[in-house]
């Protein structure tokens, strides 16, 4: 029997607001069950073999929601999953209303003057701590960038919540190498997105190292991966 596919989700998305068109997924904003919701839709890649593509897309969807729950269980903020449709490969997530990306936050603070420095340092400390906690749970994010971290200011105390998003490339691993590469990916993205932030990123790594008991092996691997990266670029 052919698999029945519901048209409900595609029809719903045709009326939703498209927020981002990526290479693997589209992100929409809509109201769902009365709540502001972000829908992430993974679409088929035509150049991949159809069966293989379906399997890969399904696996990413599953990995994404599993990692979200694993993080939340450990007390790391990530959007609540409301609904998953495995036929259209859509994840319906809590919209973090009133948030901005860490990327935008750093960029606008850099544009203003240097008196924002302590705030940026506090943010770097916080990111380091959260990533340490995530790695202690053996979650490898797979695509760490400052766009995949959302900041929401707390209502009363001016404290902020930091959310991790976009776990589509995530997986579970206890290997220091995998954690080191995860940090390396972030370092590359961080330094290229935010010029002159070497000291800030060092601070983030210090905070990571202080927060995780397993960090020394990870930082050692990070150093190795950096060296490899540099060698590669020298060879060309």
């Amino acid at each position: 029997m052919a698999q029945k596919e519901s048209m409900a989700v595609p029809e719903f998305l045709s009326k939703a607001e498209l927020v981002k068109q990526g290479a693997e997924a589209r992100v929409y904003r809509a109201e769902f069950l009365g709540k502001p919701t972000i829908v992430k839709e993974r679409f088929p890649k035509r150049y991949r073999h159809a069966v293989l593509d379906e399997k890969l897309t399904h696996r990413r969807t599953v990995q994404e929601v599993r990692s979200i729950l694993r993080c939340r269980r450990a007390g790391i903020s990530a959007p609540v999953v409301y609904f998953v449709d495995y036929t259209s490969h859509c994840i319906f997530l809590e919209e973090i209303v009133g948030s901005s990306t860490v990327r935008d936050h750093i960029a606008s603070n850099q544009r203003s003057d240097s008196c924002k420095k302590p705030e940026l340092e506090r943010l770097a400390d916080r990111v380091g701590q959260i990533l340490a906690k995530m790695h202690d749970e053996d979650v490898i994010h797979g695509d760490l960038t400052t766009s995949n971290m959302l900041l929401r200011c707390g209502l009363e105390d001016g404290e902020f919540d930091l959310f991790l998003i976009d776990f589509g490339l995530s997986y579970i691993s206890a290997l220091p190498e995998d954690k080191g590469v995860d940090l390396y990916v972030l370092e590359k993205a961080f330094l290229s997105t935010h010029p002159n932030t070497e000291a800030l990123f060092e601070r983030l790594l210090k905070s990571y190292a202080a927060a995780s008991s397993k960090s020394s092996a990870v930082i050692k691997k990070l150093d190795e991966v950096r060296l490899r990266g540099r060698k590669r670029s020298m060879v060309g």
Partner: protein, 175 residues
Amino acid sequence: MHLTHKLELFPDHRVTQMLFKEVKNAAELRQCAVEGKINGALINPTMLVDPFQVLVAVNKAVNLQKIGKMKTRSLYSEIIFNLSPTNNISEAFKRFGSSDGDDSVLVVLVHNKDESQLVSDITARVSGRQVPAEEVSSLTDHAKIKKLYKVTAQEEKCGTLLDAVVCRMAIKDVM
């Protein structure tokens, strides 16, 4: 008193929730549901945190019904099954379905037209006091829910109990 929501994914489906306290005839109501005289899900409200939890269960059930992938035999049993954090069907009924001795019940109806007739049919059958459906939150057995869904203390720091419950319901099929 009752709450009716439209399902955005299934615009011709509506969900109505009715909550009763001081219920005297829970056993009889359950019998009616078994015989098909009540077309609805009878839920133990102490296992609910919020009406939103029910909407999440109904939306998932309707979706699986449309694609022919329900794990149980009817839409109403599927709703009860979806509330549970595990894939054990009989356990889901025991914990989330109404039991004969219960003195409160939440009735969930899924329909496509005006609910007034359905609502009066239910009120006629239940001997109990109807209260606003939102009041389900005042009946919640927090300790039992935390234990059953295995909600950690750390998790409650980064979100509500409802968040924790909904997340597990939404993704239990891949855990």
